[in-house]
């Protein structure tokens, strides 16, 4: 069973600070996604990365996929209170059960004004 480890589990910062959260596994992924989830809502897709070493930017968010496709990071520049939420990474196997997403437990980010 593929496990995704996310760190840190909790993060509380002040508005304007930078932060990085991580998603790691011992397995190779065919693709990896990052979602943000607010309380009582479903996860909202932020980005999909497919190629090892790939870097994608979404405004103040930078996503990186590791060269070996086993890990990923999300960096937020100049965090704002609106960035508060649960950040989840999710991956598909590179092997047989390609139909399902496996999620990490998430990083709960709080950005204080």
């Amino acid at each position: 069973t593929q496990l995704l480890e996310q760190s840190p589990q909790f993060l509380s910062i002040q508005e304007g600070e930078n932060l990085t959260v991580y998603c790691n596994s011992s397995s190779v992924f065919s693709s990896l996604q990052w979602y943000r989830q607010e309380p009582g809502e479903g996860p909202v897709l932020l980005v999909t990365v497919v190629t090892g070493g790939e870097v994608k930017k979404l405004k103040r968010l930078t996503f990186q996929f590791g060269d070996a496709r086993k890990d990923s990071s999300l960096h937020i520049t100049a965090a704002q209170p609106g960035d508060t939420g649960l950040y989840l990474c999710a991956a598909r196997n590179s092997g047989g059960s390609n139909y399902k997403l496996t999620f990490g437990k998430g990083t709960l980010l709080t950005v204080n004004p």
Binding site: G40, Y99, K100, L101, F103
Partner: protein
């Protein structure tokens, strides 16, 4: 276009009862997946359906079942409810089972007392 819709939004049931949750995918999406998210955890895969057939099943007991209708909407059924079934049940739709992007609905909050 409307996103993924789920009903009901909240539900309270008693142990031993049965529950049916409903999901309508995004127009044009033929695949529906169900996930269970307990508090403090990431979503866990339950089922995926495509073209009315089960394409994948997670590690859940036989009390959990689902089906997909000709219009691609889906139902998740849970029999003999246990306290541990209390969770947010999420539905996600995608164009095909292996399309990278899955779009989640707002979820149904099930409380079992």
């Amino acid at each position: 276009d409307a996103g993924v819709t789920q009903s009901p939004t909240h539900l309270i049931k008693t142990r031993g009862q049965h529950v049916t949750l409903r999901c309508s995918p995004i127009s044009g999406h033929k695949s529906v997946s169900w996930y269970q998210q307990v508090l403090g955890q990431g979503p866990q895969f339950i089922f995926q359906y495509y073209e009315k057939e089960e394409r994948g099943r997670g590690n859940f007991p036989d009390r959990f079942s689902a089906r997909q209708f000709p219009n691609y909407s889906s139902e998740l059924n849970v029999n003999a409810l246990l306290l541990g079934d209390s969770a947010l049940y999420l539905c996600a739709s995608s164009i095909t089972p292996t399309t990278y992007e899955q779009y989640f609905g707002p979820g149904t909050r099930l409380t079992v007392t």
